[in-house]
Amino acid sequence: MKVTIDGISVEVPDGTSILNAARVIGGDVVPPAMCYYSKLAGSGGKCRTCLVKVSKGSEKDPRPMPKLVASCRTTAMDGMEVQNMTSPEVIEARKGVVEMLLINHPLDCPVCDQAGECDLQNLGFEHGAAKTRYEFDRRTFNRIDIGDKIQLHMTRCILCYRCVFTADQITDHRIHGILNRGDHSEISTYIQAAVDNDFSGNVIDVCPVGALTDKTFRFKNRVWFTKPVEAHRDCDHEKCKGEVTLWYKGDDVLRVTARKDQYGEVEDFICNTCRFDKKKTADWVIEGPRKVSNHSVISSNHYDTMKPLPVVKANPVLQEANKEQFERETRL
């Protein structure tokens, strides 16, 4: 089955969504997704950041779709032509969605624990407007502890429902869902019940913003001062492979998370023992540094040499010019 996205054609199997077809191509044509999570069934369709324009329905029925569609929940058809970055309509709609997402989200990234690895921060930077037009109070909530290891701060939540799906599908019984309606709806556990489950910690990893945070790591350090290292251990939980990322500061393991791919999705869900209890280097077999993409703030200041990099390359012409300039400036 052939799908064309922004003029790039790709062969995908039947039943692939437009978003996943775009991910096969990769690069700039991939629509951003805040709520879709490929490992959680039923997720997606809610945040509307992945809206795309279908300019040709399929080979059989070439009519364009009347409205922009959510690419994460729309199945690609043979011969479909999709416009993402090439459609001004999509760019405009996406900008609108980002603005809506940020209406009730506090703009205090400098004091947020998620800063540096926040999907919403990246999204706002890439697709949003520089200024807000919203001039009213934002909704606020008190912080709630759900269990002794996880903290929920609803103020930052964008209601992507990922954690609800996680609690529903990864853990064996669901005690956590959405209360109320509209912009005052909130993630909550059933009558303040503590989330107590071997896999509950995964809700922290799936959260695209800083609404669900790890209490054992919260405000210990900024994420870009820590070094991600891949490691594994022989976990005795049958569903956990024990493959994780350790986040080092000096010699200390500050936190343990699952390994996340370039779209912020975990490779394997990990159990709470690995996540919260194994924080010594001796518990783990180190594999090597975790690759972090160049544009991420996490990759800055890492693995540097003790000497500063040479300013001028080993080019005699440049060295000569530099010397001349230096002499001229000292003379003046």
Partner: protein, 457 residues
């Protein structure tokens, strides 16, 4: 005087009981359909009638029925949408209260046509009296052999249940209704799949409005072609209009589609004109979610033709100068009403009722509500109007379900047609909180449409 099909016997005492309803020819359509017709013939008859969904979207009912998937060994369901909660619309409640057997009869005939053996009537939670009335009617019908096993000895089984909802507007959206009926949180589903393929419990399902189902009764009794003779063009048959607002005689009226709006508004048979001798300022023609129109554009289309009460004529002019038939919630505003306040009130409703699933609607409705509240109370600025139009544009079409559109249209249309009233609320802020803008030029005759410039060679 138009012919009454649904409300013909509405004034007969005791029509809400089985005996009186049966004496007046009730349940004839069930006998006719079950004994003399095949299910496909019933569907064909409804198709021929051209009946369009009475819940708001106006999708042809017969077409919807024929889309129903019919896989072997999978149950099919008919669900009646009685979650009527649009501000301004109260026709279904009227029907369920006073002539409940009409709905039961329609449900039996329609379920037979679709091959459903279990059907549900989903009624909004606030309508507890209507729920009791319907349950009583179902019990009466069952006692007389019109429901249950082997109806009228034809071998057709049907169980009918009434399900009270929780009272959320969003549960009137068909997929949210199905979620709620399944016992889940009433969030609209992402389509496709459509309910005709995978609806209630994953089975093929048809969801119809109360009035659409009731209209099946006269269609089967008289034949689809006879029904199609009423009305005009593609708007066939009769429609219940719940007229409210500043009218001499507000209430539920059954009209032939194609009735001139002037006649509906001013004749003594229907609304009887504007109350207290005032003048008409604006009209919301089909429930709160359709675009609001000023009096002059409502009575005449932009081309100077008189408007009719029909799906096509009301939407003449598109969103620029037209409105929609919607669910038939007709609200008239006289010269003393404030459009800004009314728009704020609608926006407040949609803010309260947004389910919070998708971001544009969840955040945008609240934003519009706050800006309108500021305008109404004299703290607005001139840029607010453009802001509202822009926010409405960003909600519209980008949401999972039509609630986002329904929230955006009234705001966008109010600013389009009543911009000077909004601006007056900014320029005369202190005055705006003490008095209203008044009629202004909203009832002035429309300017003559400019003749098209002749093509120059």
């Amino acid at each position: 005087m138009g012919r009454k099909l649904l409300l013909e016997h509405i004034n007969v005492p005791g029509i809400n009981t089985f005996e009186v309803y049966r004496q007046k020819g009730g349940y004839a359509s069930v006998e006719k359909a079950l004994k003399k017709m095949t299910p496909d013939e019933v569907v064909e008859e409804v198709k021929k009638s051209g009946l369009r969904g009475r819940g708001g979207a106006g999708f042809p009912t017969g077409m919807k029925w024929s889309f129903l998937a019919k896989p072997e060994g999978v149950a099919r369901y008919l669900v009646c949408n009685g979650d009527e909660s649009e501000p301004g619309t109260f026709k279904d409640r009227f029907l369920m209260t006073y002539i409940p057997h009409l709905l039961i009869e329609g449900m039996i005939t329609s379920s037979y046509a679709l091959g459903a053996n279990t059907s549900y009537i989903y009624v909004r939670g606030e309508m507890m009296p209507q729920i009791r009335i319907l349950e009583k009617a179902i019990a009466e019908a069952k006692a007389n052999g019109f429901l249950g096993k082997n109806i009228l000895g034809t071998g057709y089984d049907l169980e009918l249940y009434v399900q009270p909802g929780g009272g959320a507007y969003i549960c009137g959206e068909e997929t949210a209704l199905l979620e709620s009926l399944e016992g889940k949180r009433g969030n609209p589903r992402i389509k496709p799949p459509f309910p005709a393929i995978a609806g209630l419990y994953g089975c093929p399902t048809v969801v119809n409005n109360v009035e659409s189902i009731a209209a099946v009764v006269p269609i089967i009794n008289d034949g689809g072609e006879e029904y199609a003779k009423l009305g005009i063009g593609r708007s066939t048959g009769t429609k219940l209009i719940s007229a409210g607002g500043n009218l001499v005689k507000p209430g539920v009226y059954e009209i032939d589609l194609g009735l001139p709006v002037e006649e509906f508004l001013y004749s003594d048979e229907y609304c009887g004109g504007i109350a207290n001798g005032k003048r008409l300022k604006a009209v919301v023609a089909g429930g709160s979610s359709v675009p609001i129109l000023p009096a002059n554009l409502f009575l005449k289309t932009i081309n100077g033709e008189g408007r009719l009460m029909s799906y096509e004529s009301l939407s003449d002019g598109g969103f620029v100068s037209g409105s929609m038939m919607g669910s038939g919630g007709f609200i008239a505003f006289d010269e003393d009403q404030c459009i800004v306040r009314n728009t704020w009130n609608f926006a407040r409703f949609y803010h309260h009722e947004s389910c919070g699933q998708c971001s544009p609607c969840r955040e945008g409705t609240g934003w519009m509500e706050k800006v309108l509240h500021r305008l109404e109370n004299g703290h607005g600025s001139m840029s607010d109007m453009d802001l509202l139009v822009d926010v409405a544009k960003k909600i519209e079409g980008n949401t999972i379900c039509p609630l986002g559109d329904a929230a955006a249209w009234p705001v966008a249309s109010a600013i389009r047609h009543f911009r000077d009233e909004f601006e007056w609320h900014v320029t005369h802020a202190s005055e705006a909180v003490t008095r209203n803008y008044g009629l202004a030029h909203y009832a002035d005759p429309l300017p003559k449409p400019e003749p098209k410039p002749e093509a120059t060679a």
